[in-house]
Symmetry: none
Subunit: 155 residues, 2 copies
DNA sequence: GTATAATAAAGGTCAAAGAAAGTCAAACAA
DNA sequence: TTGTTTGACTTTCTTTGACCTTTATTATAC
């Protein structure tokens, strides 16, 4: 426990308690621990990332904030496998299989699968920098993490 | 947390209630919240704009006023307006307003809106080429067109 | 009395300043 | 070498203020 990042992590965990999410002010927290504000980002990205079961959201400007959310506790092997695949690029066909699997396993509704397929279609993701497969993986991963967080919310 | 613009927004929403429109005096309101009058304009343009389903009208000079109205337009015109908006880049906040409006107007389900918001979040669309707003608009467009096609299919 | 000019009372616009959070790379420590 | 810490610079959203335009009322001229 000698480094400050660990202390900040502990502090956040403590304040989170059993809650699903926690709002913090980056500057206040940095001030409290007497560190550069960007260190808070460092802690968030190394400790409160999706691999560790967390998601974050934020707003800049006056009245800005950072929200830290729990994404998951029950890490089913199956879902873990899918998320793992989504760390790499994914083409449209493979992505559709994944979506179908998510529906079949009751992870999401039919109607949700439809909009997702639209969202990750080659047409939706066309861009001049050959980023299509990368973006598709990112989008799917985000959708899954969010959906997971919401599911455990209503449990 | 909590900035004044959000408080003013809440105040206006509160006073609007279920009504179709509300008349306010810019100066009075600014005075009440102890802010520059132009901040009222800021709140109106960021919170009570077309994407959020509002229209405003005003008159200057003695006895001037601002009217805030709920915009209930004919569906085709309305959807056309949204698609038009999606020909340009769209930031996340605006996109969320659009999705909320699509849900409110029964164009799609709640649960669909959730996955869409995940799909178009800054996190999902982060990329090294500053394409975020462009991609977001593309994705939303695609989803709407598809959904529309499906709806008119079953009519 | 009517026409016109001046004044006051609104609201509008825009840009600068301020207040957050984000990024990235260099320095540092284990 | 890997993980931490810091700081300079960037982006986004909010707040403020100076200046502009429109409308209503009041004063003045004829």
């Amino acid at each position: 426990m000698s480094n400050i990042s660990d202390m900040i992590e502990a502090f956040i965990m403590d304040n989170l308690g059993d809650d699903e999410h926690l709002d913090i002010s980056r500057n206040e927290l940095a001030n409290f621990f007497n560190v550069a504000p960007s260190q808070i980002n460092y802690v968030l990205s190394t400790r409160f990332n999706y691999e560790r079961g967390f998601l974050t959201e934020s707003k800049r400007g006056g009245g800005g904030y950072i929200t830290i959310m729990r994404a998951d506790e029950d890490n089913s092997v199956w879902l873990h496998g899918i998320l793992d695949r989504l760390n790499r690029d994914v083409d449209f066909r493979t992505a559709c299989y994944i979506v179908d699997e998510l529906i079949e396993k009751k992870f999401m509704e039919d109607c949700q699968g439809d909009v997702i397929k639209s969202a990750i279609s080659p047409q939706a993701l066309s861009n001049p920098f050959k980023l299509e497969n990368r973006l598709r993986a990112q989008i799917l991963r985000r959708i899954i993490m969010k959906n997971k967080a919401k599911k455990s919310d209503s449990d």
